[in-house]
C-alpha cells in the first residue's frame, strides 16, 4: 500500500494564479481531509469528505474548493492564490471504524509570492 500520496511536494505560485493539489489514498477509506499547517502552528481543517460526492467545509475554507468524485481521490483547488495561502498542506484519510486514526500524506509546501 502506498497509503496517502500528495503531489506536488513543492510549488511556488504568483499572486492570482490557480492550482490543484492532488491527493490519493489506496486504503479504501471513507473519510478524507485537507489541512493547512502554518509555521510553528497546529493543523487547521480546510475541507473534509465523508465519501464520494460528499464534501463539507472545515475551519478555514475561504479561497479553496474541493471535489470527491471517487473514493480514492480528493483534490484541493486554490483559486486566485494569495500570500496568506503560503503554508504546508496535508491530506489525510481515515476509515469509517477508526476515524480518530488519520493517515497523512507527506505534504505539499506552497509559497505564494
Amino acid at each position: 500500500n502506498a497509503g496517502v500520496t500528495q503531489t506536488p511536494k513543492f510549488r511556488i505560485l504568483k499572486i492570482g494564479q490557480s492550482m490543484t493539489l492532488q491527493c490519493a489514498q489506496d486504503m479504501n477509506h471513507n473519510y478524507m481531509y485537507w489541512y493547512r499547517q502554518d509555521p510553528g502552528m497546529g493543523l487547521k481543517l480546510i475541507y473534509y469528505s465523508v465519501g464520494a460526492g460528499i464534501t463539507d467545509k472545515g475551519e478555514v475554507p475561504n479561497g479553496y474548493n474541493v471535489s470527491r468524485s471517487t473514493t480514492e481521490d480528493f483534490p484541493l483547488r486554490l483559486e486566485l492564490a494569495a500570500p496568506s495561502q503560503t503554508s504546508v498542506y496535508f491530506c489525510a484519510s481515515s476509515s469509517y471504524r477508526d476515524y480518530n486514526e488519520q493517515f497523512f500524506g507527506p505534504g505539499t509546501r506552497l509559497t505564494v509570492l
Binding site: M41, L43, K44, Y48, N100, Q102, F103, F104, G105, G107
Partner: protein
C-alpha cells in the same frame, strides 16, 4: 471560542528518562482526545486516543491520562529514545457524528543522547 492548547511549547529530556507532555482543552462536549506525533518534514502520525469516559489508557511505551475535572490531558513516554524527538499534538474530536478534529499548537520534544 473553543480551543485546544498546550502548556509547554518545548521540552528537552535525556535519553532514557520519562517524558510528560501536557495539554489543556476547553470543550466539554469532546468525546475523544487523540495524540499525534509529527517528525520533521513529515505528516502527523497517530499515537493513541482516549475516550472521554476513561481516565487512563496505555499503549506501547506511552500512557495517556485524562483529567476531566481540570480539563487536562497528558502523554507520558517511558524510556524516551532519540527517535521520539518530534512535535506532539493533542487533538479533540467533538461528540456525536462529528468526524473533525480540533488540533492544539504542539509541543516540541528534544531527546538528548
Amino acid at each position: 471560542g473553543e480551543s485546544v492548547g498546550l502548556h509547554l511549547p518545548t521540552l528537552s529530556v535525556q535519553e532514557g528518562d520519562n517524558s510528560i507532555i501536557n495539554c489543556a482543552y476547553s470543550n466539554s462536549a469532546s468525546d475523544y482526545f487523540i495524540w499525534y506525533k509529527q517528525e520533521s518534514g513529515k505528516g502527523p502520525q497517530f499515537i493513541i486516543d482516549i475516550r472521554s469516559n476513561m481516565d487512563k489508557r496505555q499503549g506501547q511505551r506511552v500512557t495517556v491520562l485524562l483529567n476531566k475535572t481540570v480539563k487536562h490531558l497528558s502523554l507520558q513516554i517511558a524510556a524516551t529514545q532519540p527517535g521520539d524527538s518530534a512535535v506532539y499534538f493533542c487533538a479533540e474530536k467533538l461528540g456525536g457524528n462529528n468526524r473533525k478534529l480540533i488540533w492544539g499548537l504542539g509541543t516540541s520534544l528534544a531527546v538528548n543522547p
